[in-house]
């Protein structure tokens, strides 16, 4: 079945492919078999539309030109012709059936995520992505790294403006990777055009998709479903590498994760925590509570000079660890590790004039989470 219609796509590809892709006018062919199948479908249906358009508009403009009242055209009075009508109903149906067959085949392929060699959990959060390599103990969040000064225009915009992140998703090429996708808050949609993967992440539900990348490279995309204020600032970057490089990378990440886990038990200095906390705050918290903790009421309360926060450390920890139900504040118990949680709470209790002097140790947080 597949080979029979591939020639059609090959023609479309040859006719209009590479050049259009290079100048960014058209859908990318992409770097997976699925993405080039989709590109073929796209070009096929496009050319079908062009041909129908030329015929229909050709007939229309011919009539407009030929039968002008100003040139003394006399109107005929026919107003139906059953066989013509049957014909122009039948031809579109045949074209549509011809189109439905390859589309069905591609769709079935896209839905077949069996036999994957690697599972990656993708979780949408306002407004970042969290990646978890299932069974490998490696997980991290990926935030946009374009500085706000570039957005406001105080600084020149870089080449990958808005499409760059602090930690890209690293994937091996030539391996079938299955994505399990969900969300912690609202619906997001994880999209990378070159991989032809676009899938909504839905809170409380898990969607599946898969990818098998043919070429190493850096592939960029972004959130496609309106998810709140920073919907436009939620890029996806996929770094596709050779399999060996991927194994090395994964091993490094595992080791780093183990070291971090050991850090939970030791006593931390306040300066260490504040320094770590500031970077966590800026990448995770500042999109809602703002860079200076001033918040954006009523949706996002201020943290600076927040009486309740200053007076009640247990309340503060509870909100960060368990979230606020029915509001935008998510639970960070599984998103951040105890070191990061302790650091960010310590930081926000000692920044922007909240000079409480409190130090929250990672070990205390670990205990709270365990309860």
């Amino acid at each position: 079945m597949r080979s029979r219609w591939r020639w059609l796509m090959a023609i479309s590809l040859a006719a209009s492919g590479a050049q259009a892709q290079a100048n960014g006018w058209n859908m990318p062919v992409g770097v997976t078999d699925v993405s080039s199948d989709i590109y073929g479908l796209h070009m096929t249906i496009f050319w079908i539309c062009v041909v129908i358009g030329v015929v229909v508009f050709g007939a229309m403009f011919y009539s407009l030109f030929r039968y002008r009242h100003s040139k003394g055209a006399k109107a005929a009075h026919f107003h139906e012709h059953t066989s013509v009508e049957v014909l122009w109903t039948a031809i579109p149906i045949l074209i549509l059936v011809g189109m439905a067959v390859p589309a069905t085949a591609t769709l079935k392929n896209m839905y077949d995520s069996s036999d994957a060699e690697l599972d990656v959990m993708i979780t949408g959060q306002q407004w970042r992505w969290r990646y978890e390599y299932l069974g490998e103990d490696v997980a991290f969040t990926s935030n946009m790294s374009t500085p706000r000064t570039q957005i406001s225009g105080e600084e020149a915009r870089g080449e990958h403006y808005l499409l760059e992140v602090d930690e890209p998703l690293v994937l091996p090429i030539n391996r079938k990777v299955r994505f399990l996708m969900t969300s912690d808050d609202v619906i997001h949609s994880w999209w990378v055009p070159d991989l032809a993967v676009k899938q909504d992440t839905i809170p409380g539900f898990i969607n599946e998709n898969w990818v098998k990348i043919n070429e190493p490279g850096i592939y960029r995309g972004q959130c496609a479903e309106l998810c709140g204020i920073d919907h436009g600032f939620m890029p996806v970057v996929v770094h596709a590498v050779e399999e060996e490089e991927f194994e090395n990378w994964l091993a490094d990440r595992k080791e780093a994760a183990e070291q971090e886990a050991m850090g939970v038990d030791r006593e931390w200095e306040m300066d260490e925590l504040v320094e770590r906390g500031e970077s966590v705050y800026q990448s995770i918290c500042s999109s809602c509570h703002q860079a200076e903790g001033q918040g954006a009421p009523p949706a996002f309360p201020a943290l600076a000079n927040n009486e309740q926060l200053i007076s009640d450390v247990d309340w503060h920890l509870d909100k960060v660890i368990n979230g606020v139900s029915g509001a935008a504040m998510p639970a960070f118990r599984s998103t951040l590790n105890p070191v990061e949680l302790a650091a960010v709470v310590t930081y926000s209790r000692n920044a922007w004039g909240n000079d409480t002097g409190d130090v929250v140790q990672p070990s205390e947080v670990a205990e709270l989470i365990a309860q």
Binding site: H79, E80, T82, E85, V86, T89, T104, K108
Partner: protein, 57 residues
């Protein structure tokens, strides 16, 4: 009966002649057309579901 079915099928495709339409509107009972229309629509939905299930196998 067959003429009613034919008219409804023509309606689904959007093709009908004036002469046939005149006949429908002068001799047919509206209820017959409505019932046939609903039944054919249901059959059409079932056909599409069957087709989709067949294609998804």
């Amino acid at each position: 009966m067959w003429s009613v079915v034919k008219s409804v099928l023509a309606a689904l495709l959007g093709v009908q002649s004036n002469q046939k339409r005149e006949e429908d509107f002068s001799s047919g009972k509206p209820a017959a057309y409505l019932v046939t229309g609903v039944v054919i629509t249901l059959l059409f939905v079932l056909l599409l579901i069957f087709l989709a299930m067949f294609a998804a196998r």
